[in-house]
């Protein structure tokens, strides 16, 4: 009998997850594993993911790869799956607590934020002390990716973040404000316009992802300020990397969905073969699949790759 595996992503509207699915499908084909894929309809669609986990249990698979829509809400379903003897690996987004899953293969989102924050501060040099910063976040719900990236950026930039799970409680005068983008271009543009109305002198813009960054850039360009503002982002999608090459985005932290997926499939294959469970990286409660800073204006002390190099590694 063939080994069965499941991949459950947050949505299939986001190229990140589309890529993850491609990686998993390719790896599964290579290992002779039958893969079923599921996704929520929109981000935060907890109930569909629970239903998917249940279907996987019912289908008797050996392992489940899942990017939880809600890192807490999915815990019970996953616990149930593990009780049924299934290897559950969280991809991209860790559970809370992380040991809910057998293992976590994820980007260190906080680290991703720190990298771009440090890069922005170093690029500005002395001007960092008088920077005017805008943050373009995901949505009103402030889910973990959202605050981890944001607070990581601020930490990297040298801002006191107060509650590290809370966006907007900072009192650093350099912060102009934050607005939500829903992670797409339209939201990015509108949010940028709004914040420019609050303070037209904004010169550093953090964005939750590259589509939001592209939207922000359009807003800046419409006001003729695109060359005076530093935009940083997280993701590493190919359109984003190309935007780094073209100077739209100053720097972005690249993550590796393909790697997450293929590693996940390999882990399931190993588990199915002899029951070995993957181990987390030392000192972390998850297996870091790595983040890499992508910029064409490297600064000393922060390792980075150029957009050219990144184009070979990017996803989507």
């Amino acid at each position: 009998d063939a080994i069965g595996a499941c991949l459950i992503t947050k949505t299939d509207t986001n190229p990140f997850f589309v890529k993850m699915r491609e990686g998993a499908t390719a790896a599964a084909a290579e290992k002779g594993i039958t893969l079923q894929t599921y996704a929520g309809r929109i981000d935060g669609d907890v109930e569909n993911q629970i239903a998917a986990v249940e279907s996987c249990i019912a289908a008797g698979v050996s392992g489940i790869l899942i990017t939880p829509s809600d890192s807490r809400a999915l815990a019970p379903a996953v616990t149930q799956a593990r009780a049924a003897g299934i290897l559950v690996i969280a991809l991209d987004t860790p559970f809370e607590p992380a040991d809910t899953a057998s293992a976590t293969f994820a980007t260190d989102n906080f680290r991703a934020g720190v990298l771009i924050g440090e890069w922005a501060a170093a690029t500005l040099g002395d001007a960092a002390a008088s920077a005017r910063i805008a943050t373009l976040d995901l949505n009103a719900s402030q889910i973990s990716v959202d605050y981890l990236r944001n607070q990581g950026f601020m930490t990297g930039f040298g801002i006191d973040v107060k509650d590290p799970t809370r966006i907007g409680d900072e009192d650093d005068g350099r912060i102009v404000g934050s607005d939500v983008t829903n992670g797409n271009e339209e939201g990015g543009r509108t949010a940028m316009e709004n914040l420019l109305q609050v303070d037209p002198a904004i010169n550093v813009v953090y964005t939750i992802n590259e589509p939001a960054a592209a939207g922000a850039y359009e807003a800046l360009r419409a006001m003729g300020r695109q060359n005076e503002v530093l935009i940083v982002s997280v993701d590493g999608g190919c359109p984003g990397v190309r935007n780094v090459a073209e100077g739209v985005i100053g720097a972005t932290s690249m993550q590796f969905p393909l790697r997450m997926a293929s590693m996940g499939i390999e882990a399931i294959a190993a588990f199915a073969a002899d029951g070995t469970e993957p181990a987390n990286a030392e000192g972390l409660d998850f297996f870091n699949t790595g983040v890499t800073l992508v910029t064409d204006k490297p600064v000393d002390g922060i390792p980075s790759i150029t957009s050219d190099e990144a184009l070979g590694l990017c996803w989507g």
Partner: protein, 368 residues
């Protein structure tokens, strides 16, 4: 046949008391009702007629058919008692929301805020019981009361201010959603924390096994809610008033029904059911997530509509909504097991909605 000539009309100003002269001929008129031979029917029209006589049959047949079809496609995995009970479990929350929605749709309203009320109430009971340490029964009681109040707020605006339900609940959807995020701080409450502080909140997550099927208390709750509502709607005066209001509000008012009061009660009851749904949702999801069920409003409407309850009010059985929810569940489960992409699942549900209602319309086209 001979006719008696009519009596001569009485003269001038003082009018006659008695039938007009021309009505004398009436006496001999036949008293029966007209009868025509029934026209021959094509087999299709015959089926149409049968279903027209018992409209609740339609969703049942659709359900049976879809179970059959998916059974053939997806094989025995689909047919297993376990999977079937799983479907029941999976639709239980949307089913409960659909029960609340049905009540409102029967009054010719629509409620875009049911899921928002439910999520808000699960957050309320969770916050109270776990974060603030209120005893679980009290926390649940508070959430029931607030849910009823939230529904009542909708109802008051619909009944007293005469605002269209669509608009009222579009507004309160936004309001409840904002309150939910504010109150929860957008943070889920973890399963372990619930277990530790207030396991009662997860009561409906318990289950038992019968012949391979895994029946959760939540599934049973859903069925019970539908059964009770069916009784209330069909066997009590209040229930008939709900139908009468949906049928023709002005007429119901003139017939002596306190329509405004009943409307407020309907919305309040719907809010209460949503609060019960919130309790069940905690059991189902295992934790309390302020972000879940964002699409629950529209999903509940979908179930109601597929179940053959008219959006114009007053027509349809609440049991239809149960079958409607199950049909959607069977579709989703079947498509999933058949390995169909979410994308095409969404696509299929879109057509399902249209086709189900088109069939319903076709059946209703026959006059009795």
């Amino acid at each position: 046949m001979t006719t008696t000539p009519p009596p001569p009309p009485r003269p001038g100003p003082v009018s006659g008391r008695g039938p007009s002269d021309f009505e004398t001929g009436l006496a001999a008129s036949p008293q029966g009702v007209a009868r025509f031979e029934a026209p021959r029917r094509t087999p299709l029209a015959g089926i149409q007629h049968l279903l027209h006589a018992t409209p609740t049959l339609v969703p049942v047949i659709v359900l049976a058919l879809s179970i059959l079809v998916f059974g053939l496609i997806a094989g025995e995995r689909f047919f297993s008692p376990f999977n079937l009970s799983l479907i029941l479990q999976q639709v239980s929350i949307i089913g409960i929301l659909a029960a609340a929605q049905s009540l409102i749709v029967l009054t010719a309203g629509i409620d875009l805020s049911v899921a928002a009320i439910m999520v808000l109430m699960s957050v309320v009971s969770g916050k109270l019981a776990i974060t603030m340490g209120v005893p679980a029964p009290l926390a649940l009681g508070a959430s029931f009361a607030l849910g009823t109040l939230a529904g009542m707020l909708n109802g008051l605006m619909v009944a007293r201010l005469k605002l269209p339900p669509f608009i009222v609940t579009l507004g309160t959807w936004n309001i409840f959603f904002a309150l939910n995020l504010w109150f929860s701080g957008a943070q889920s409450i973890r399963s372990q924390d619930i277990d530790a502080a207030a396991p009662l909140l997860k009561f409906f997550g318990n289950s038992f096994r019968v012949a391979g099927a895994n029946i959760t208390f939540g599934s049973i709750l859903m069925v019970v809610i539908f059964a009770v509502l069916w009784y209330v709607l069909n066997r009590t005066a209040w229930g008939r008033h709900v139908y009468a209001i949906g049928d023709d509000k002005a007429a119901a008012e003139l017939a002596g029904i306190r329509t405004d009061r009943v409307l407020v009660q309907v919305y309040a009851l719907a809010g209460f059911i949503c609060a019960i749904g919130a309790w069940a949702a905690i059991g189902r999801v295992g934790s309390i997530s302020p972000q879940s069920f964002y699409e629950g409003n529209l999903q509940s409407i979908t179930a109601v509509v597929i179940g053959g309850i008219s959006l114009f009010g007053g027509r349809g059985s609440i049991m239809g909504a149960l079958f409607g929810a199950l049909i959607v569940g069977v579709f989703q489960s079947g498509l999933r097991l058949a390995g169909v992409d979410v994308l095409w699942q969404v696509f299929a549900i879109g057509w399902l909605i249209i086709i189900a209602v088109a069939i319903d319309q076709w059946i209703r086209k026959v006059s009795a």
